[in-house]
Symmetry: C2
Subunit: 249 residues, 2 copies
């Protein structure tokens, strides 16, 4: 069982933000150092905790260092829809300069380590370091593509395809920040969380996971995802990872 030990159990001893943004553009040594400095104020927080609540005026961005957070909203009926995952290295929300009121909530799923970045800090960073600014814009573009991919997912894929696609996306994203190997990754989510993400019921998510296990593609359980057959899983999901790197050729 993996234990989240900084700075990532498998890979370079690098800050997740540096790893993530480096994937979107070259960063100078001083830019990497400036980014790594953001992790200094990291706080450990529990799971199921709201960091930015719907309706509030955000005063700072949130940087995820470890764990998994998400954006979500509730319907009046009580149904919850998760609209994005925030993984280590993800920054939410760089554009808060323009937002007066949050239209959704940002909260942790499992236990996390997060840092709050005041808007001035963020603004100074992008002004002084053009490489960071460029990488952030590309990362944001990838985030938009990802949301569109989620529309595809819930809009026109079957249950098993949705779950498979989600597992593939998490694997790809976690791998770039050093929190996943080809064997799998830790996933501190409940099946209800997966249901709220994929637009399925918790019961049906359970049955879908069982089916994936019987198909010898992937085993999900115990807060852990063990990948048995990555090509098979990706084929089932029609997973095309290029949407995660829209700036690449």
């Amino acid at each position: 069982m993996h234990h989240p030990g900084p700075p990532g159990p498998c890979g370079h001893p690098l800050h997740p933000v540096v790893r993530k943004l480096s994937a979107y553009g070259p960063l100078k040594t001083e830019e990497q150092a400036a980014l790594a400095g953001l992790g200094a104020g990291g706080q450990r927080v529990d799971g199921r905790l709201d960091l930015l609540v719907e309706g509030a005026a955000p005063d700072s961005a949130v940087l995820v260092l470890e764990g998994i957070a998400c954006r979500y909203r509730h319907r009046v009926s009580g149904a919850r829809q998760i609209t994005a995952y925030l993984l280590p290295g993800d920054l939410c929300d760089p554009d808060l300069v323009h937002v007066s009121r949050m239209t959704h909530t940002v909260g942790t799923l499992g236990p996390c380590r997060v840092a709050r970045i005041p808007r001035e800090t963020l603004a100074g960073l992008t002004e002084r370091h053009p490489g960071i600014a460029l990488a952030l814009r590309r990362a944001k573009l990838a985030e938009e593509e990802t949301t569109r991919e989620w529309v595809m997912n819930v809009g026109c894929r079957s249950a098993i395809e949705r779950v498979s696609h989600l597992l593939c996306e998490l694997h790809a994203r976690l791998q770039t920040v050093g929190w996943a190997t080809s064997a799998g990754y830790d996933l501190p989510l409940t099946q209800q969380d997966l249901a709220d993400t994929t637009g399925l019921s918790n019961v049906h998510v359970n049955r879908t996971l069982r089916q994936l296990r019987l198909m010898r593609l992937v085993e999900v359980g115990g807060k852990r995802v063990d990948i048995l057959d990555l090509p098979g899983l990706q084929a089932l999901a029609e997973f095309q990872p290029d949407y995660l790197r829209p700036a690449d050729g």
Copy 2:
């Protein structure tokens, strides 16, 4: 029956881009003039025509002046998912500087009038006119919120709620650019298009529209949407238009 006569059948004789961006921030007279100049190169194009195809490297942005276009993608099974609508005044895609290959296709639904904006023109515009740059960033923010709202829509709403919500969103967005009144708006889409948007089958969209008609909320047919009971429709859809103006208080 409304006929699309420039510059919009109901409202100020203003360019749709000016109307749209003005909603996101004040524009100086010279900025409005610069924006209106973008419409000069407008071309009439047929419906069901692809403007930017998946996989290609975009060389220019597309500005919609009249009609409705969309972003979409096909699955290998042939199923299509529409991930966004592009209405008059919408610009796609201001950030093409960072995109090397399109991950989805942009095409018209009904007949349109569109203008291609070379990246240099766009870059010059935002450099010289800070008001335009700010409004564009806010418009993009609204676009992101809209995509998240679509995830909500297909993820956790029933068929009638999805269709109602879509009709409400189109009404609100078209109204700000002068192409809708409180009575309704022209909608040159087939029921299959609505199905590909909402993640339903064309047959079920048909039945859902009939139900909405029987409920005396809205009548959709003949390329036209006649709104009978806007508050009722919005209530059914739980429509909260604030996601279209994330920068407002």
